[in-house]
Symmetry: C2
Subunit: 251 residues, 2 copies
């Protein structure tokens, strides 16, 4: 499962101005001058699906933005119990300025491209360009809200509600990528295995599988193959999730 971490993609270089996450990532508020500073020190790294990017406790001398692909943040107890604590999507930020070592395992679930900065250099930039710190604060507050939403799910929702919530969240962010509202019929691929869903939802993979089957039996979702999901009625799904209306956003 563990593969050798790929070396930096030194030959790949995208202009910041052409970057797909230019207006959502930590650089979103920067003007052209500020962007130039970042441009000069950034470098790209790519990771393959399944690859561990860093292990909790490891030294981590860079911070990064997810350009494309999906990664997970997770914590593990000594006896092997695992809990995912974050899902990293394009434009999300990885790493913490001012911290030496990684606090969580970071794992790529799909092939990924990340835009990286040496930590020290990034910290200097944060001091000199307030727009970076401001945007990072905004993003961190959003993540905190998402984490708290997730605490409600983990602490109080039934297995069925947990699954409906997760599917609704994935549907929402998928719609957001396509710049549309999720309503009526929605269709997409699940980016997570049953095991990853279980780690996220705080349950076993068997229960995940059972609840997926149950939601399908009851017509809440339709499934083609293992991963492709169609939602005939989005409001129905939200109802099953136990959210009044618009709760349950993510990362």
């Amino acid at each position: 499962m563990q593969k050798i971490i790929s070396s930096p993609d030194r030959y790949l270089h995208v202009q910041c101005s052409d970057c797909p996450i230019r207006h959502r990532a930590v650089c979103a508020r920067c003007d052209d001058d500020e962007l130039q500073l970042l441009e000069e020190v950034k470098f790209y790294r790519s990771f393959e699906a399944g690859q561990t990017i860093v292990w909790s406790g490891d030294r981590m001398d860079f911070v990064a933005s997810v350009v494309s692909g999906i990664a997970t943040l997770s914590q593990t107890m000594e006896d092997g119990r695992r809990q995912m604590v974050g899902l990293l999507l394009p434009s999300d930020f990885v790493g913490r300025p001012g911290r030496e070592t990684a606090a969580y395992d970071v794992t790529a679930t799909t092939d990924m491209l990340m835009c990286c900065f040496r930590k020290k250099q990034f910290e200097d930039i944060m001091l000199s360009t307030p727009h970076v710190g401001q945007r990072l604060l905004e993003m961190t507050l959003d993540e905190l809200d998402a984490a708290r939403e997730w605490m409600l799910l983990l602490g109080r929702k039934s297995a069925r509600e947990k699954l409906a919530s997760l599917i609704a969240i994935i549907a929402r962010r998928d719609a957001a990528l396509k710049l549309m509202q999720p309503e009526g019929q929605v269709s997409f691929d699940l980016p997570l295995s049953r095991e990853a869903m279980a780690d996220y939802l705080g349950m076993t993979l068997e229960t995940v599988s059972r609840q997926v089957s149950a939601l399908r039996r009851d017509g809440v979702i339709e499934i083609k193959g293992k991963r492709h999901v169609t939602i005939p009625d989005f409001d129905r799904l939200i109802e099953e999730a136990g959210d009044d209306q618009d709760g349950g956003f993510l990362t």
Copy 2:
């Protein structure tokens, strides 16, 4: 349960330089000039134990630091299920710059004093004095870590481990207040009712009560009265919490 919100304590005024949370709150990094700006626009409000400070969805035109006392952040589902998502202790920050309405219910569990700022004024200060935004980022990152630690507890720990974790966390912050390490014998009062603990831990108050009894029977904790706890062996408690060593911090 709901009481009338007290009016601002206009006559109370503490100099920032004498403030007990001066070096831990959102103002921690400010120099004297910057502190002067805050001093001019701050105002105090006090709340009684049990009082709701704001309801989720209510308009909230101020942000604040907890000066003394304890409050909880919680979310409620339509059918009444509740989950606490944060514990606010002295120096913690309440409210989100740039947001109009409260995202959570905020409830005082003890009598409290809060140092408040009109939201608009605070936002202006954040733009002009980077030290405030920098400190807020640092605090928000800490809260995010605490929330994620809590996700592991909610998703993967047993009832007994949950209780041991909660008690360990309270013991730690209590020791932190007294500026000492928790080790060997530790003693303090639980600041939460059984019901509040249940809301925090994602379980029922009956299960909380049973697990407290079980931990007492097994000699992990000793109890005098309803609320006073003594921990004969802190390492033993940590072991029961399922944390390897130093996990489980809070807010």
